[in-house]
């Protein structure tokens, strides 16, 4: 008889302007791997934050093993045996693995002093038992992302969690590391744990989950046995309509080389080499994608192209002009457009109006500025109004609305509208659809393809392999700052890309295939 480990009944949670959870039910059996599926903004993270005590529900009850409980903070959740592995790791970078694990429940010796030796021993024991190999003395900032995730899992096991919530765990892993994670999940289940897996990746659900609960726009849609449904059916439940996984696009008609990078070397902020001896071309009328796991040099590459970071050596040429030593302004004038990875940091001034954000790169020239330096606010406003209607941007108060008050999807549209409007020859796009709902994602991808068809050169960096394989005409895989292989569309499959992301060279991978 399967007993119920967790029951959440009628959970409702509202934030200003949005109902995150609307009478949601969830029932998780003891020792099962249960997936929680939904797209961005569906309410999965909110629901689990309630389970973990970070939020109080406005309505609804929670029962753990049949007993009704009130979970008022993470400590209470931990006491009930619930552990959470967050999507964005909650780790102190300059502490060791052990210090991070024991933070909050430190072992003390008889004088009340911090006793790290005992802790280290226990960490080693647990990591052995569950097959999560880590070195207890390593500093977090020195270990890989996959290992950091294991530390997060160890944190919960150290606190004797029986119920583990994993929030989008594969977001930061290579395909191989994802396979290892799937093994870890199976091992944890073997050891008697109950696992809730929050994800929007259908493949993973198929790989490890037994049942799956689907949320859409805050509402409970249904619970299915994973073995009884197909990925398409789950996707349809998630989105509410049949979605096309593929984008319709014509084959590319590449023209002249627009972007030429040769032997580029860029340091990271910490002085370590971010980009190493990298060379790549992008022609007009094609979309070249850079595939790789976050942290392998993509950010430094983009910064070097757009002027936000200095290149140590090598050259970057756009349209025949050497831009390597140019500042950001000069590069914008030279025809480089940039849709940044972090839209709130580099893309928008949130406290400016939409109109001012549209003018952010062109405010100092006509028609927005006179030759004496005086601004023409009328011109700025009417330009904004044009763009708002052309790109179907939802801005309630029009051009004078503060960017901060817009939704993520509309903010991203503002950035894209601004960049495209400047008619760049080269469009550098990083993570364009992160955190957006399906409607916005579709629109933006279509726009990118449209720009390609207009003859622009597009360089796309994305951590979502699906996006790369869908949109790009050519794919380059980056690993540890180097390009380890370049392929035309269709020449490689996901598995092979995965190996290269982890560092294998192109030749090895292709050889193994045949």
């Amino acid at each position: 008889m399967d007993s119920i480990a967790i029951e959440m009944l009628g959970i409702t949670k509202t934030f200003p302007g949005v109902v995150a959870n609307d009478h949601v039910d969830l029932s998780v059996r003891e020792n099962e791997v249960h997936a929680l599926l939904g797209e961005n903004g569906a309410g999965k993270s909110t629901l689990m934050s309630i389970l973990f005590g970070s939020y109080d529900p406005d309505e609804g009850t929670i029962k753990i093993r049949g007993k009704e409980v009130k979970i008022k903070d993470p400590n209470a959740a931990t006491a009930l045996g619930i552990g959470m592995v967050h999507q964005h790791f909650k780790l102190v970078n300059n502490y060791t693995v052990t210090e991070n694990i024991v933070l909050g429940i430190e072992s003390r010796d008889r004088f009340g002093m911090l006793d790290l030796k005992t802790a280290e021993k226990r960490v080693a024991e647990i990591s052995e038992r569950y097959g999560l190999s880590v070195n207890p003395r390593d500093k977090i900032e020195d270990i890989s992302v996959g290992m950091q995730q294991r530390v997060e899992i160890l944190k919960t096991l150290y606190r004797n969690a029986d119920i583990l919530i994993l929030d989008e765990p594969s977001a930061v892993l290579t395909p191989q590391e994802i396979d290892e994670l799937m093994d870890i999940i199976r091992r944890l289940k073997q050891e008697g744990k109950t696992i809730i897996l929050i994800t929007h990746k259908l493949k993973e659900i198929k790989a490890v989950a037994e049942r799956c609960t689907v949320l859409r726009r805050g509402k409970y849609i249904g619970t299915v046995n994973v073995s009884d449904v197909s990925e398409e059916e789950m996707a349809e439940m998630m989105v509410g309509r049949s979605i096309k996984f593929e984008i319709d696009k014509e084959p590319a008609k590449p023209g002249d080389v627009i972007l030429k990078i040769e032997n580029l070397n860029v340091r990271t902020a910490r002085g370590v080499h971010g980009v190493r001896n990298l060379s790549i071309d992008v022609r007009s009328g094609e979309i070249v994608g850079i595939a790789g796991v976050d942290g392998n040099g993509q950010t430094e590459l983009i910064y070097a192209i757009t002027g936000l970071a200095r290149a140590e050596s090598g050259t970057i040429t756009v349209n025949g002009k050497d831009v390597t030593r140019m500042n950001v302004k000069e590069r914008i004038v030279a025809g480089i457009g940039h849709v940044p990875e972090d839209r709130h940091r580099h893309g928008l001034v949130l406290d400016f109006t939409v109109g001012e954000n549209f003018a952010l790169k062109s405010y100092d020239r006509a028609p927005f500025s006179s030759s004496f330096g005086v601004l023409d606010s009328g011109a700025i406003a009417s330009h904004a109004t044009d763009l708002i209607s052309e790109y179907d941007i939802r801005a309630g108060e029009g051009a004078s609305m503060k960017a901060r008050n817009m939704s993520g999807g509309n903010q991203q549209k503002v950035i894209i509208a601004r960049e495209i409007d400047l008619s760049p020859d080269l469009l550098v796009v990083a993570q364009p659809t992160r955190g957006l709902d399906v409607g916005a994602i579709e629109y933006i991808r279509k726009r990118i393809v449209a720009e390609r068809d207009k003859g622009r050169a597009v360089l796309l960096v994305s951590f979502e392999l699906d996006e790369i394989m869908n949109l790009c005409d050519r794919i380059a895989i980056i690993s540890k700052g180097e390009i380890v292989g370049t392929f035309n569309e269709g020449e490689v499959d996901e598995q092979q890309i995965g190996f290269m992301m982890a560092g294998s060279k192109k030749e090895t991978v292709l050889k193994e295939r045949s």
Binding site: T12, D58, R345, V349, F352, K361, Y363, G373
Partner: protein, 374 residues
């Protein structure tokens, strides 16, 4: 029923979220606390308010007479407050915390004094040039901070304070090096250097009000114009709100920071020059800080970094300051004005928290309504 509650809510929302309203409330709160403090130490707070009334209108309640001179003094005293407020405000709009107004003021004052004594004695031109050079001096002193911040990421908070002290002692060395100077004053200024206006003095029956007021008004207008209407101001505001986005958009952030601190320094330097040539007939060897620079911080905060707000706040602080002698004669210690200043700054700091608190309570209300609406 629904319409009523929503109207009521919007009025309260307006009151509590409008920056101007909050500034007014903060000032009132500061006064209330000051009044309470005076009562606690056994003095009569009415004396403070009588003094304030006389300064604002010239009307002496006890004697039933108007003394316009006090109004003139009020305006004259407000000048450095307004300018130092503009100094802090300008930098703040660009994202910088300029507490070096004191040092920039001292540099302006020192330059003005030196030029007054050593410069060519051409009427009118003499003091105008002195003021201009005072602005340049202040601009340089501010620009250094901007450069240190932009180039070396040195916190402008600590750098400006160090430069304040260096300016003070440096000023002493330079002024004492002028011929004929003893340990506290220089020889008298030539007539051509003195900032005096027959017209204005007559108008206000012998107050110290002088042509500096024109410079102040021009400064306020210039502040507004630069910030809101020029591309320089656009770039500075963008940098102030989000340095990273500004940089990614091609805005020259390093140059903006230096320029912003330089302009801020110019405002404060002008204040120093006006005080040097308008309030004294000779150069002073500074024994301590005049305090306008620090008061300017409070002025800018109360004025919410806007042109009009800073003007009004500067007038307010000028009023408090020029009422000090009257307060003393009513047995109120003059330090009450510094206390009110300090309280105002602390309360303004809480303003942000206030706003968060209001947002939080509005959130709760919206939640309750959303849930009840189903």
């Amino acid at each position: 029923m629904m319409a009523e509650t929503s109207k009521k809510r919007t009025l309260r929302e307006l009151l509590l979220t409008s920056d101007a309203a909050i500034s007014v409330m903060v000032v009132l709160l500061g006064f209330i606390c000051g009044t309470v403090l005076i009562v606690c130490v056994g003095r009569n707070p009415v004396g403070m308010y009588k003094a304030i009334l006389q300064v604002l209108t010239g009307f002496n309640i006890d004697r039933h007479r108007f003394y316009i001179r006090y109004v003139g003094e009020w305006l004259a005293t407000s000048m450095p407050f307004i300018l130092c407020g503009l100094s802090m405000a300008f930098a703040a709009r660009s994202g910088l915390f300029n507490i070096g107004g004191e040092g920039q003021y001292v540099v302006g004052m020192t330059v003005a004094q030196i030029f007054a004594l050593l410069g060519p004695q051409v009427s009118v031109l003499h003091w105008i040039l002195a003021l201009v050079l005072a602005m340049v001096g202040g601009a340089c002193w501010g620009g250094i901070v901007g450069w240190l911040k932009a180039r070396f990421e040195v916190s402008e908070v600590v750098a400006t304070i160090m430069l304040n002290y260096i300016a003070l002692y440096g000023s002493r060395i330079l002024i004492m090096g002028l011929p004929g100077t003893n340990t506290y004053k220089t020889p008298d200024f030539p007539e051509t250097a003195i900032l005096k206006s027959q017209f204005l003095a007559k108008l206000t029956q012998g107050s110290m009000l002088n042509y500096g007021i024109i410079f102040v008004i021009l400064s306020v207008i210039a502040y507004w114009f630069i910030m809101e209407k020029t591309r320089l101001g656009f770039g500075l505001r963008a940098t102030g709100f989000n340095k990273d986005a500004a940089r990614a958009s091609g805005i020259p952030v390093v140059r903006s920071i230096v320029l912003s601190m330089a302009i801020a320094g110019a405002f404060a330097g002008l204040g120093g020059g006006i005080v040097a040539l308008g309030s004294f007939r000779y150069g002073r060897v500074l024994a301590g800080n005049d305090g306008y620079g620090f008061a300017g911080i409070a002025v800018a905060l109360v004025g919410n970094n806007t042109a009009v707000g800073t003007l009004l706040a500067g007038l307010l602080f000028g009023m408090l300051s020029s009422a000090q002698p009257l307060m003393e004669s009513n047995r109120i210690p003059k330090e009450i004005t510094f206390i009110i200043q300090g309280l105002v700054v602390v309360f303004i700091a809480i303003r942000v928290g206030f706003r968060i608190f209001i947002r939080y309570s509005m959130k709760k209300k919206a939640q309750r309504e959303a849930v009840s609406n189903g």
